[in-house]
């Protein structure tokens, strides 16, 4: 029984109708609160929303008036975004990060009630994705591609949780990784409590190759730290913390199932780590 007098079974039954936007406001608010606390129902909601969106495709697409595109863009330029961020590159600590939650659930409730509800149901785990989106948005980094299989989804969720944990930890900050042309193509997420996490916006490595992540001490030779496939597998945690002044670099290397003694490929992305 929740605060509003609904049992879990009652709320569970309403999740589908909630995904269809078919509840009265009070019921919608009760379900939204429940989803924030019940992972099982939350997963059922995700699935229901996915099915509902397929129904959307049942409505034939229709050509919108040409001017609608520009009207939306003009309005967007004048529309401030819901805040996400402390000054770059630092990421707001978990407890201060604003408005966690996912829009579809929130959207069913009038704005005033929504704001109040966010505070009521605030839990740290709900902020991970928001924290990640902040970093990704800041850096323009691809982090998660669209899910396609359950296995991939699970690994993406793990990766998402990992990124969230690092970003939420004390001292969290983000170091950009740039390509040869100077464009940002990835990030190293560093915190006081976690080993660094590398997020790279790299396509799958060329055939026969794999991306290898190197840590290069200020006055030393490169040490292989991790391998990543690129594409959908683009997040990796390094085995050791790295001292200030270490350079992180990513190169394509032969995909022979092992880490290598020294880099041979050209640098795809690199950046210098500072821990403060």
């Amino acid at each position: 029984m929740d605060d509003r007098g609904y049992t879990h079974e009652e709320l569970e039954l309403l999740v589908s109708a909630y995904a269809l936007d078919a509840l009265e406001p009070d019921e919608a608010a009760a379900v939204a609160e429940h989803l924030a606390q019940c992972e099982g129902c939350r997963e059922a909601f995700d699935a229901a929303l996915e099915t509902a969106a397929l129904l959307a495709l049942h409505a034939d697409g229709a050509e919108p008036p040409a001017e609608l595109r520009e009207r939306i863009l003009t309005a967007a330029r004048a529309t401030p975004q819901e805040p996400a961020v402390a000054a770059a590159p630092a990421v707001a600590p978990l407890a201060e990060a604003p408005a966690p939650a996912v829009a579809p659930a929130a959207a069913a409730v009038p704005p005033e009630r929504r704001r109040r509800r966010f505070r009521e149901v605030f839990t740290p785990s709900r902020n991970f994705a928001a924290a990640f989106a902040i970093a990704a948005g800041l850096l323009g980094v691809l982090y998660l591609s669209e899910r396609s299989t359950n296995d991939q989804l699970r690994s993406e969720r793990d990766a998402s949780a990992l990124v969230g944990q690092v970003l939420a930890a004390p001292g969290a900050h983000v170091v950009a990784l740039t390509g040869p042309g100077g464009s940002t193509g990835g990030a190293v997420l560093v915190s006081d409590q976690h080993k660094p996490v590398v997020v790279a916006d790299l396509l799958p490595a060329p055939p026969g190759k794999i991306w290898e992540v190197w840590t290069i001490p200020a006055d030393g030779k490169p040490v292989s730290a991790a391998l990543m496939r690129g594409g959908d597998q683009n997040v990796v945690q390094l085995p050791e913390s790295v001292p200030d002044g270490t350079t992180i670099a990513i190169t394509p290397e032969p995909d022979d199932g092992t880490q290598h003694a020294a880099p041979t490929g050209p640098i795809a992305l690199s950046g210098g780590v500072s821990n403060s």
């Binding site: 936007d21 697409g61 975004q81 998402s160």
Partner: protein, 191 residues
């Protein structure tokens, strides 16, 4: 070096991340990908071209404002966008006091949806959904269509169909779950 940078090559999730960073070009790309589907959906719900435009605009602006909250591990970007547009359209329809008595009527004459067939891109998906909907019982299909496309709440559905609210709630739940299973089965036999 194959670093993704051009927005036309970016994944939907990456475009939303860029929206969160204030890149309106990313919003434009999302609109180019989903504007047509969104407008078709809105038009089917509100049955008025001007209201449909409003719903699409409000939905895309909601995505723009809330981009930082999008969670790619939870939902596909297209699911998220269309759900925002759906929500806005339903909202608009509920504000309209006088709803047509026959809610499953087609869009108004002359509206774009009338004579525009599904695009090739959506054709396959649409046939798949048609087939799955056909396999639902008539009462199951009815509650889904009335709820999703006509914006009826569960209470309104119970009134409309003259059945107990509890029955409607269970049926809606079962219908959507069954549709999901049918679509999944379909997907497996296709591959």
């Amino acid at each position: 070096m194959s670093i993704r940078m051009a927005s036309r090559e970016l994944s939907d999730a990456s475009l939303i991340a860029r929206c969160a960073a204030g890149d309106d070009g990313a919003l434009a790309s999302l609109y180019d990908r989903y504007g047509r589907a969104a407008y078709g959906l809105a038009l089917r719900i509100v049955r008025d071209p001007a209201l449909a435009e409003d719903a699409v605009q409000e939905g895309f602006l909601a995505a723009w404002r809330g981009a930082a909250r999008f969670d790619a591990a939870r939902a596909k970007a297209s699911t998220w966008l269309l759900s925002l547009v759906h929500h806005k359209a339903v909202d608009l329809v509920r504000r309209e006091e006088a709803r047509p008595a026959q809610p499953t009527a087609d869009v108004p004459e002359g509206a774009a949806g009338d004579d525009v067939p599904g695009t090739v891109l959506h054709g396959f998906e649409r046939r798949r959904i048609d087939a799955a909907l056909d396999r639902l019982s008539t009462p199951q299909r009815e509650v889904l269509v009335l709820a999703y496309f006509d914006g009826l709440t569960q209470t309104e559905l119970a009134d409309r169909l003259g059945e107990p609210l509890g029955t409607i709630k269970s049926r809606t739940h079962t219908a959507l779950a069954r549709l999901r299973v049918l679509l999944a089965d379909e997907g497996q036999t296709e591959t």
